[in-house]
């Protein structure tokens, strides 16, 4: 199978053929359900919203992976902790105007989670930094389990809610036109994603710290010789990943209902997005995330929602096998790694 897909032209051909087939199937199934343009647009819109969250999470994966070579299975935990902390703060009875309170809650969620991330790196990754990959994987998995357990312990199994950010005078925070619905929160999510991307760009391209991180990513030994302390970089990368995850969780919260186990699936999807983007490139991660969001939402829409995860993971496995370097390109990873 691989050998067939060796040559570039064949790959392109196969990819195009696959896409055409995919679209055909979608349209066929959608037609059977009596979908009109409205439904497709709606599915795609929602998909992009969900995908943007995946993208934010995927960025976290990429930052950690680039610097430490670790895939942090606890990334989903950061998302959950960001959301839950924000909710918890917002539910405090404080003599504050709601808007200010919400803003503070958001900050609290992100900062708190960043600290959690830093702690995680110091307490679990740092002591085991010389261990076998297998060990590291299991450790990050363990950290995730722990975080989820703590959340359950503190907040129970109830779904909470965070008010939508926008004070726009919209009837229940929804924009409607021609039967298509768009949550005002979606706009916030996209804006956040854009800001984060720009911020990351400036951080990596313009600041010394960012450059140091990149140096670490390119060649740890060399970076070390240049006087960059890899362990500090690792710490920094985890803190950043945590912050990114938390931001994702916080902006997502109003559009869903934060609950203690929300992190697992989001984390996995974020990882798939990162893989689609080639695991090493930030823009790749974003494209991957949005693509994944749209694909699975449309697929689930035209078939059964229960199959949602299957689509995501089939995509994952296919990419791991046939395009380990990601569909956007980027470094040769995965099978070759």
């Amino acid at each position: 199978m691989q050998s067939i897909l060796r040559t570039k032209s064949a790959r392109i051909g196969a990819t195009v053929a696959a896409m055409v087939l995919l679209v055909a199937i979608v349209l066929y199934l959608g037609d059977a359900k009596g979908f009109g343009a409205v439904q497709y647009v709606q599915l795609v819109l929602d998909g992009i919203r969900g995908g943007s969250i995946y993208a934010l999470i995927a960025l976290g994966f990429v930052v950690v992976f680039n610097v430490t070579g670790i895939i942090n299975f606890a990334q989903g935990g950061f998302v959950m902790s960001g959301a839950m902390l924000a909710v918890a703060f917002n539910n405090l009875a404080l003599p504050l105007p709601p808007a200010l309170k919400l803003a503070l809650a958001v900050v609290f969620g992100v900062v708190g989670t960043t600290i959690v991330g830093a702690l995680m790196e110091r307490l679990t990754i740092f002591p085991a930094r010389h261990s076998h990959t297998l060990t590291l994987i299991i450790i990050t998995v363990g950290v995730y389990i722990f975080m989820q357990g703590m959340a359950l312990l503190i907040w129970g199994a109830n779904a909470y809610s965070l008010p939508a950010f926008s004070s726009l005078a919209l009837e229940d925070q929804i924009l409607r036109s021609g039967g298509i619905m768009l949550k005002a929160q979606s706009l916030w999510i996209w804006a956040t994603l854009a800001v984060v991307l720009v911020a990351l760009y400036f951080f990596f391209e313009r600041t010394l710290l960012g450059k140091a991180l990149r140096a670490c990513a390119i060649n740890r030994r060399a970076a070390e010789l240049m006087g960059i302390n890899p362990s500090r970089m690792s710490l920094l990368s985890f803190a950043m990943a945590a912050a990114l995850g938390a931001i994702g969780g916080v902006v997502l919260s109003p559009a869903t209902r934060p609950i203690y186990d929300m992190g697992l699936k989001l984390g996995l999807k974020g990882f798939i997005a990162a893989i689609m983007g080639g695991m090493v490139s930030s823009p790749g991660a974003v494209v991957g995330g949005i693509l994944l969001g749209v694909l699975e939402n449309v697929a689930a829409g035209v078939t059964r929602a229960g199959f949602k995860d299957i689509f995501a993971f089939v995509i994952l496995i296919l990419i791991l096998l046939f395009r380990p370097q990601g569909i956007i390109g980027g470094g040769e990873r995965g099978v070759e790694q």
Partner: protein, 432 residues
């Protein structure tokens, strides 16, 4: 060579042990015929002058205190503890011979997981050697323990709704040892269908949670709807952890007149919100699984105007005074709030299901002569529940348990309510 011989020997001996071990089976318990049940005094009855203290009875209880269905399991657990406290005050249950038996409540968490449920159930049966078991917030855990109860021959009262818990779907016979107290999705579906019909709608969509409860909802609702010639034009499942709801697009596309949601909170709340956003004009009909405050707090504004069948507990004060349940419902509400220190928002019909189940068992225990052995007590309790729970007003309705029907409720047990300004309002058919 020697190595192999030795190893083989090991295996053979082990097998020998296996068979040999089974050669001496544990003696099957012979159920002694229970004493003819007499008119019994309720547990809180005043105790005779000089009380004789008999052997302590044990009541096993498990519910989903953690996990996805903990919003059901926690109030159930609270209720059990409340009753335990009351019984302790009363000193125990008084038998027909005036002997007072203290009752130990043993409470476990099934973590909303059938496997764990099975484990704690066998704990209760074998380790704790309880007289009877009340437990199972969700259908999954309940279904998982029924076979154990049948084999161990111990009376079991479930707090979950699926009919398969008490009725063998293949033979159509009731399981001898399994009972349950909650109204069924079949009753719930009946109300839903009646309402949809009254509204003159002929197409509905169903979205149900991806678990035993949700599936039962789908099955029963569909059955009830088809009885009235209403078409279920689209149905799909969802999961509480979903963030996007592509189902709504299909709902809109299918052009149905109303959306029926078969789930318990918080999942049900998520779908309700999504539906309100995706299809604001589409009426939403819920099941009786959402009769607790979690629903309203989680769904917020989206819950407004939703209608659903619901146990009378939630709106007891709105009931006519001649309602046989009213007094008892009000008392339960009072006791519960006093015990947990929560406001009315803490109330839920699920706690009520727990109350009914535990009270059945206690009443049955009250019918036992002193000095019976465990096996006999178990058998007697079971027989009492099957034969003596008639016209028995509970929180879930007026029960008439029979050998054919180990639940004994009709759909009148449920009422119909509407959510208005964040609370339930009695919404009887004449107001439709």
């Amino acid at each position: 060579m020697k190595k192999r011989a030795f190893a083989l020997l090991t295996m053979i001996t082990l097998l020998a042990l296996l068979v040999g071990g089974c050669g001496t089976p544990v003696p099957p318990p012979e159920p002694t015929t229970p004493p003819p049940p007499e008119a019994t005094t309720p547990p809180e009855a005043t105790t005779p002058p000089e009380p004789v203290i008999g052997t302590a009875y044990k009541l096993g209880f498990f519910s989903s205190i953690t996990g996805p269905t903990s919003s059901l399991g926690v109030p159930e657990r609270n209720t059990a503890e409340m009753i335990a406290a009351q019984i302790e005050e009363a000193g125990g249950v008084t038998g027909p011979d005036g002997v007072i038996h203290p009752v130990d409540f043993i409470i476990y968490d099934d973590e909303s997981n059938p496997e764990v449920a099975a484990t704690v159930a066998s704990r209760l049966i074998e380790e704790d050697e309880v007289d009877a078991i009340v437990g199972g917030s969700g259908s999954g855990p309940s279904l998982a323990v029924v076979p154990l109860m049948q084999e161990a021959e111990i009376p079991y009262v479930s707090m979950a709704s699926s009919r398969a818990i008490i009725l063998n779907p293949e033979t159509g016979e009731s399981y001898k040892w399994a009972f349950k107290t909650p109204q069924e999705n079949f009753h719930s579906g009946g109300w839903q269908a009646a309402y949809v019909e009254a509204m003159g709608w002929d197409q509905v969509c169903v979205i149900y949670s991806n678990d035993g409860y949700g599936q039962d909802c789908l099955a029963q609702t569909t059955a009830a709807m088809e009885e009235k010639g209403i078409e279920v034009s689209y149905s799909d499942s969802f999961e509480p952890t979903d963030t996007e709801f592509p189902q709504i697009a299909s709902v809109v596309a299918s052009g149905c007149d109303a959306l029926v949601i078969g789930a318990v909170p918080p999942g049900a709340a998520l779908v309700t919100v999504a539906a309100r956003e995706g299809a604001p004009d589409l009426p939403v009909v819920l099941g009786h699984g959402v009769c607790n405050a979690t629903m309203i707090s989680a769904a917020g504004a989206a819950a407004e105007g939703t209608v659903f069948p619901c146990g009378k507990l939630m709106y007891a004060d709105g009931l006519p005074d001649d309602d046989p349940q009213k007094a008892l419902l009000l008392k339960y509400r009072e006791d519960y709030m006093a015990f947990t220190g929560e406001g009315p928002e803490g109330l839920s019909t699920f706690g009520g299901h727990g109350w009914d189940g535990v009270m059945w068992v206690l009443e049955a225990m009250g019918s036992l002569e002193d000095g019976l052995d465990l096996t006999a007590r178990r058998a007697a309790i079971r027989d009492y529940i099957e034969t003596q729970i008639t016209n028995w007003p509970g929180t879930g309705g007026v029960f008439n348990v029979t050998p054919e029907d180990h639940l004994g409720l009709t759909y009148e047990a449920l009422g119909f309510v509407k959510v208005e300004n964040g609370t339930w309002v009695y919404f009887p058919p004449e107001e439709w």
